[in-house]
């Protein structure tokens, strides 16, 4: 457990710093309705880093960072002006154009330098798991300075004043995003930016309260996401993004209750859930009736979770064949694994295997693979035939179940028919 803590604590600190500054910028971004501005800024900064790279500067170098920042500032000028164009064409459209052009230009630049592709990827897909206290030491002074500047200028940062203040806003935001995307990656930074801010805005109206709610939600979600990624053995960034998405969904469900309309909210939620389940059931019924041999996602999932469900439609003989093939497939897999293990060990231990023995192991492994595929084919075939047999009855049953669940006002339908 101490291992896990030692590994997860630095990224947690980094996440706290990132939530701290991004929740604030997120509230500003939501107010200005420029949701994807961070993607545009990050992409332009990456374009700057690519230019530096093409000029021969190494990645993660002061000059390279200077190039990124200079490009981000240029983009800030453009973004500040988009507000004035925004009367006819939505500002978001122009931001999107900046994003795609910067991304495409970086690809074109990098195309001539093979190592560049990886370089570009690394700028935009940081890995928060391998970030550390060194990153914290770098970003804390920067974020503190920017936070202080915004606190001093809070009267000017309304998004409605002269364009010079807009430039200051986008320039400081660009500096934040350039550093954070390199640490945590585009996806996670977007979640840090939008989701805590959205939750804050949902439940409060003053900036201070919105910030407080956003920070609390962001920090707790980051901790939960990191813990889940450790416990479930999943990539950290992606797990955290999903955790943030889940928290926003929960907040969204809670929102109507908080607004004081619990009954209406419950009714809508119930109806939506029933329609959803009914639609899934009806689609599964149609799929089973139309193509019984094809994948049946719902039935496959149910059988995966509760294997005894298969005995509902497989005859005893089929069940035996199915189980038998499963046992054999598993045995071939285990034998192949053993053989692989043995080959691995002989690379360094004892006498080296001669070419002939290696070739023999290789062909044994291939045969095991084929035999295993054969057994899996048997399992698939047994199940497909049984499903073909029950297609009509099972599909009708599922359909009836779907109709029962769907919140159709049967009484009114009946009355109208009469």
């Amino acid at each position: 457990m101490s291992d896990a803590l030692a590994l997860l604590f630095p990224p947690f600190l980094v996440a706290v710093c990132l939530v701290g500054i991004h929740a604030y910028f997120g509230i500003q971004v939501l107010a200005r309705k420029v949701i994807f501005v961070d993607l545009a800024l990050a992409q332009v900064a990456a374009l700057g880093a690519s230019v530096a790279f093409m000029l021969g500067h190494p990645a993660q170098n002061f000059t390279t960072y200077g190039y990124s920042l200079a490009f981000a500032l240029l983009a800030a000028v453009l973004l500040a002006f988009t507000r004035t164009w925004g009367t006819r064409v939505p500002q978001e459209a122009l931001i999107g154009v900046i994003y795609v052009v910067a991304a495409a230009a970086a690809i074109l630049l990098i195309d001539r330098a093979p190592q560049g592709a990886e370089h570009l990827k690394q700028i935009l897909t940081g890995n928060i798991l391998t970030s550390g206290l060194g990153d914290v030491a770098l970003i804390v002074p920067l974020y503190a300075a920017i936070g202080l500047l915004h606190w001093l200028l809070h009267r000017q940062m309304t998004g409605a004043g002269p364009l010079a203040w807009e430039f200051v806003f986008y320039a400081t935001f660009g500096a934040v995003v350039t550093s954070s995307v390199a640490i945590a990656g585009v996806l996670l930074v977007f979640s840090f930016l939008i989701i805590p801010a959205a939750i804050g805005v949902m439940f409060a109206s003053s900036l201070a309260r919105q910030l407080a709610i956003g920070w609390i939600a962001g920090v707790i979600t980051s901790a939960a996401g990191l813990a889940a990624s450790f416990a479930l053995d999943l990539p950290t960034g992606a797990t955290m993004v999903c955790a943030f998405g889940g928290v926003l969904a929960v907040a969204g469900m809670f929102y109507p209750f908080w607004r004081g309309e619990p009954r209406a909210a419950l009714r809508v939620a119930g109806a939506a859930a029933r329609w959803g389940v009914a639609a899934v059931l009806a689609a599964s019924a149609l799929q089973l009736a139309a193509a019984p041999r094809a994948d049946q996602p719902l039935i496959d999932l149910a059988e995966y979770l509760i294997p005894p469900l298969r005995s509902l439609y497989l005859s005893p003989a089929e069940q035996a064949a199915f189980a038998d093939a499963g046992v054999h497939a598993e045995r071939y897999r285990a034998e192949a694994e053993q053989l692989n293990d043995r080959e691995r060990r002989t690379r360094t231990e004892g006498e080296a295997l001669d070419e002939f023995s290696v070739a023999r192991i290789s062909s044994f492994l291939k045969s095991y693979g084929e035999m295993r595929k054969g057994e899996q084919f048997v399992m698939h075939e047994v199940r497909a035939r049984a499903r073909e047999r029950i297609r009509w009855s099972a599909a009708l049953g599922l359909l009836a179940f779907a109709l029962l669940l769907a919140p159709v006002p049967w009484r009114q339908v009946w009355a109208r028919l009469r």
Partner: protein, 303 residues
């Protein structure tokens, strides 16, 4: 450097002296730079070889360009890695519509033919293996002994396309294999100090290399191609690195430096950058230089 200039000079002189050769050279396309180097070793002056994936790019994530199709259209021979390593070549071949180099055509060479594949796992993914495709680990060119088999396959195809020069191809191959034989003995001698020493790599590119030189790759940082490691996986790697006293982490130039440095730093190991492909490092200019560079880098870091 001087040798490169000299080679260029010699090539230029040859081009001047035998202008006719430039025209009736056989156009060969290979998917990777390693196969280009091996094809050049057999074909010598009589072939013009282009590799689709440029040096230093990750061939497992290559995205084709329009030029590739036109190159394939004009080619008389294609040499590919096979074993699902360069699956994207399948679509390119289809688009090029060149019947000579279609699967089964006279100019189609799957270099994995006859190779004893390691780590075959059937079609489903085995645990802890970096390769999502279970047809066996495709990095077989990293065993110099396998170059014998690959050049043999290439020789056969060149002889089929250009029987008049079969003897010259045969002589080229024999000369190359003789040189490789000497080099192999040298590499094996140099790497004896690393025998059985535990190593960690980012991507599982090294089973053939490990088997030939009796190295012990105990773990891989990447979980699946393109999937970053989970915290539990990293913790386990760092723990086992400390327990087994792993002192070297192997990284390829295109792999994320941050993640590798992080693991090496936590476990107190050194990072060695190796080329798994010709041209991935500037000093790995051809097939033999590739091993020279890797052996030099490994021996320089070995404690």
């Amino acid at each position: 450097m001087i040798r490169v200039h000299l080679a260029a000079l010699v090539a230029a002189c040859c081009a001047l002296a035998f202008p006719a050769h430039a025209q009736d050279r056989i156009d060969v396309v290979t998917t990777t730079t390693d196969l280009r180097s091996l094809t050049e070793a057999v074909g010598g002056e009589r072939v013009a070889v282009v590799s689709i994936v440029p040096a230093g790019m990750d061939a497992e994530e290559y995205q084709a360009k329009p030029q590739d199709v036109s190159r394939l259209r004009n080619a008389r021979m294609i040499v590919r890695v096979g074993l699902d390593y360069d699956l994207w070549a399948e679509r390119l071949l289809l688009q090029a519509g060149n019947s000579a180099i279609r699967r089964g055509g006279p100019g189609y060479v799957d270099a994995s033919y006859g190779i004893a594949t390691l780590e075959v796992r059937g079609m489903s993914v085995g645990p802890g293996d970096g390769h999502a495709h279970g047809n066996g680990n495709p990095h077989y060119w990293l065993d110099p002994k396998n170059a014998e088999i690959v050049t043999g396959t290439i020789l056969e195809a060149l002889t089929r396309l250009d029987p008049a020069n079969a003897r010259s191809y045969q002589a080229n191959r024999s000369a190359f294999l003789a040189r490789l034989q000497l080099k192999l003995a040298e590499w094996e001698a140099k790497l004896t100090s690393l025998r059985g020493m535990p190593l960690v790599a980012y991507h599982n590119s090294w089973p053939y290399f490990a088997r030939r030189f009796r190295l012990d790759f105990v773990a891989f940082i990447e979980m699946k191609p393109g999937v970053p490691p989970s915290p539990a996986h990293l913790a386990e790697i760092i723990r086992s690195m400390r327990a087994r006293n792993v002192k070297i982490v192997v990284r390829e130039p295109h792999e994320p430096k941050r993640d590798v440095d992080f693991v090496a730093g936590k476990a107190g190991a050194a990072v060695v950058t190796l080329a798994a492909s010709v041209g991935a490092l500037p000093q790995a200019g051809d097939y033999i230089a590739l091993f020279d560079a890797n052996v030099a880098a490994l021996t320089a870091t070995a404690p």
